[in-house]
């Protein structure tokens, strides 16, 4: 089902934060529609890898190619546009605007893309319903439970029908039941839409929702063993 040409590929990424090297030559490939989990201990460079792949951070060395484009050759404006149209982002928390209602938060990416507010809200409502956030559209993120807020964040990430969703510890602040609901919603919807997901987590039970797992060890991808 998956094509042989990867949708997103990273080659020998190097990135330092001051004196500490977060990435020391990490490479990976993400195929269209695939759910890939990147796991590793805290400080292994997982988040930095996601930031490089999503074009949020420019690596010191190495390259990221997305659908035939080299991310490091793109302008900041084009990268921002790419993140708005082709990518969706979900973090542990903080990606929703605290003052906007759940519905407006989900409608925002569509409005940024130029949709009229009314149309954006209609579509946003559909997506909230898809993620099981019912009757909460007028609430602000602070008034929702953690699980509902994360499902709203997923709706916001997927509302533009992106090719890739980057999820950095999306269940990091949730209990296991809420975490299960969020992950089920993410994997089902991504499967239906054919969206690829790059999932960063330190939790093996969350990583088990993915089709494949890569382990990051001290800034490099650990050698993979094929399961017997």
């Amino acid at each position: 089902m998956s094509t042989t040409v990867p949708l997103l590929a990273a080659r020998d990424l190097v990135k330092a934060h001051g004196p500490t090297e977060a990435l020391r030559g990490a490479s990976l490939e993400l195929r269209a529609g695939e759910i890939l989990a990147v796991t590793g201990a805290s400080g292994s460079g997982k988040s930095t890898l996601l930031h490089c792949l999503a074009g949020i951070v420019r690596p010191d060395a190495g390259s990221v190619s997305y659908a035939g484009e080299q991310l490091h050759t793109l302008s900041e404006k084009r990268l921002s546009e790419l993140r708005r149209t082709d990518f969706g982002v979900v973090f542990q928390f903080g990606q929703l605007i605290p003052e906007l209602t759940a519905l407006d938060n989900v409608a925002l990416p569509l409005m940024l893309a130029g949709a009229a507010r009314k149309d954006a809200q209609v579509r946003g409502q559909e997506w909230l319903e898809r993620f099981g956030v019912l009757g909460q559209e007028a609430l602000r993120p602070g008034e929702m439970s953690g699980g509902q807020a994360q499902r709203t964040a997923l709706a916001r990430a997927l509302v533009t029908d992106p090719k890739v969703v980057f999820a950095d510890e999306p269940t990091g602040a949730l209990d296991s039941l809420a975490s299960e609901q969020v992950m089920t919603a993410l994997t089902h919807t991504a499967g239906e839409q054919g969206t690829a997901v790059l999932l960063i987590t330190h939790d093996a039970q969350v990583a088990a929702y993915a089709d494949r797992e890569l382990r990051l060890n001290d800034g490099v991808v650990a050698p993979q063993e094929v399961a017997a």
Partner: protein, 463 residues
């Protein structure tokens, strides 16, 4: 057996609190230092103004004063100078209030942590009061140390009353600083969790604000009606009246900002078509009184500035219409008025600095969320427009009221002055709000570089 705590608590409590206050101020980041410095500057200005008024008040009849373009020689013009100085006190007080807000979130978190660590409510209140009190004391001390020799050089044997009033002013300013900070923290110290959770937006102005506004209103009504009371010191009260009027109009403008912000936010957020306007309007709706708090000082200065421009125009045109009477004085008075204008400009600069710091503060507090928005593809331009709109939207109606208030004060002053001549219509009063509006937008725009820096992905790493 006594516990360790019991043994420690018998040793000077105030000393411990003072040491803690000092350690906390020193150990925290630069913003805290900024607050202390700006508070001290504000206190020094307030004390300085108070001291000059204290020196002028006991003067009666004609004197030769070597400063102030001869404006201080005659009782009539002296009263005008006192009025101008009192009016300058308004922005300085507003500035002091604004200083208390710098790093507020950070400080409240710190004090709540102190409560969690076991400090009693009283102790936290003392520590907080000591922090601002010390800054005010430093400012007031500097102002007093500079003022006393200056006064002695000009006036060899000052009235004992002058010393008394000056001493009161020098002590009163730090005491006021302590009181204000205790009042500002009264909600926090009740709960060790403080506002660590979601900051609950204030419901509206406190009882203190409403009582003060009501008292001001009553005072103004009383003073305005003095001609009908048959009280002899009718004209002597004019500067005080102008001062009170300015405070009153300022208070009304502040109240109006808060009261209109919710409706403004609701109306705009329902109709908003652009993302920037939507974000700004929703932030306004979420915490309508935040704008009122941030802009209070600006509004007060605008009222003062508007009143000043109007009065200046009225006064000069009244004098010019009878130039043969006042030919010598016009230049002097104009010089004095220009001096006051400069002072008000300085006040405006002060307040705009405070506004810029406040906007920057708001950006800095939200930096993680802003970085997340940027990572999700929200363009910088949208976030920048939202930040500017957040200042621009609530200020528009409030500044209009402030300008109208200033105009009213000028017209009223003009009606008094018309006994001495035929003054122009004080349309200059309307210039102040327009200028203030433009200046505010510029001040808010100074936080944009900080906004750009806050969008760096490195900010995503901090929770």
């Amino acid at each position: 057996m006594t516990t360790y705590t019991e043994r420690v608590s018998t040793q000077g409590r105030l000393g411990t609190d003072l040491r803690l206050a000092w350690l906390l101020t020193r150990g925290s980041d630069r913003r805290e230092g900024w607050r202390a410095l700006l508070t001290a500057v504000g206190a020094a200005l307030a004390t300085g103004l108070g001291l000059v008024v204290a020196a002028l008040l006991p003067l009666t009849g004609q004197h030769h004063v070597p400063v102030g373009y001869g404006m201080l020689d005659q009782p009539g013009t002296r009263i005008g100078v006192i009025a101008a100085l009192l009016m300058l006190l308004i922005p300085v007080l507003g500035f002091l209030g604004q200083c208390a807000r710098i790093g507020a979130v950070h400080r409240e978190r710190r004090l709540a942590a102190l409560r969690l660590a076991g400090a009693s409510p009283g102790q936290v209140r003392r520590i907080a009061a000591l922090e601002s009190g010390l800054a005010c004391l430093a400012g007031s001390a500097v102002a007093t140390v500079v003022s006393v020799p200056t006064l002695l050089r000009m006036w060899h044997r000052p009235d004992p009353l002058v010393w008394a009033v000056m001493a009161v002013v020098a002590v009163l300013v730090p005491v006021l600083g302590v009181v204000v900070s205790v009042l500002a923290l009264r909600r926090l110290v009740a709960s060790p969790l403080g506002r660590l959770r979601r900051e609950r937006p204030a419901e509206g102005p406190g009882r203190l604000f409403r009582v003060a506004t009501a008292l001001l209103g009553l005072l103004v009504v009383y003073v305005v009606t003095t001609p009908f009371h048959d009280v002899p010191f009718e004209f002597a009260l004019t500067p005080v009246t102008v001062f009170c009027l300015c405070l009153l109009v300022g208070a009304v403008a502040v109240w109006l900002t808060g009261a209109s912000a919710r409706q403004l936010g609701e109306g705009l957020s329902a109709r908003a078509k652009s993302p920037a306007l939507l974000i700004a309007a929703e932030r306004l709706r979420d915490d309508p009184w935040a704008a009122a708090r941030t802009h209070a000082a600006v509004l007060l200065v605008t009222v003062a500035g508007s009143g000043f421009l109007g009065i200046r125009q009225v006064l000069l045109s009244a004098l010019r219409s009878r130039e043969h009477h006042y030919a010598d004085e016009i230049a002097e008075i104009e010089g004095g008025l220009n001096l006051t204008g400069l002072a008000i400009l300085a006040a405006l600069a002060l307040v705009l600095t405070a506004l810029a710091v406040g906007t920057a503060e708001s950006v800095a507090t939200r930096r993680r969320g802003l970085a997340a928005q940027s990572a999700a593809g929200v363009p910088y331009s949208v976030l920048a427009r939202a930040t500017l709109l957040e200042t621009a939207l609530p200020l528009a109606p409030a500044l209009a009221v402030a300008g109208l208030g200033g105009l009213t004060i000028s017209v009223w002053y003009g009606s008094i002055a018309s006994e001495h001549g035929t003054p122009d219509a004080p349309y200059m009063a309307l210039l102040a709000p327009v200028l203030a509006y433009a200046a505010c937008l510029l001040a808010a725009a100074t936080s944009l570089p900080l906004l750009r820096r806050s969008l760096r992905p490195a900010e995503l790493r901090y929770a």
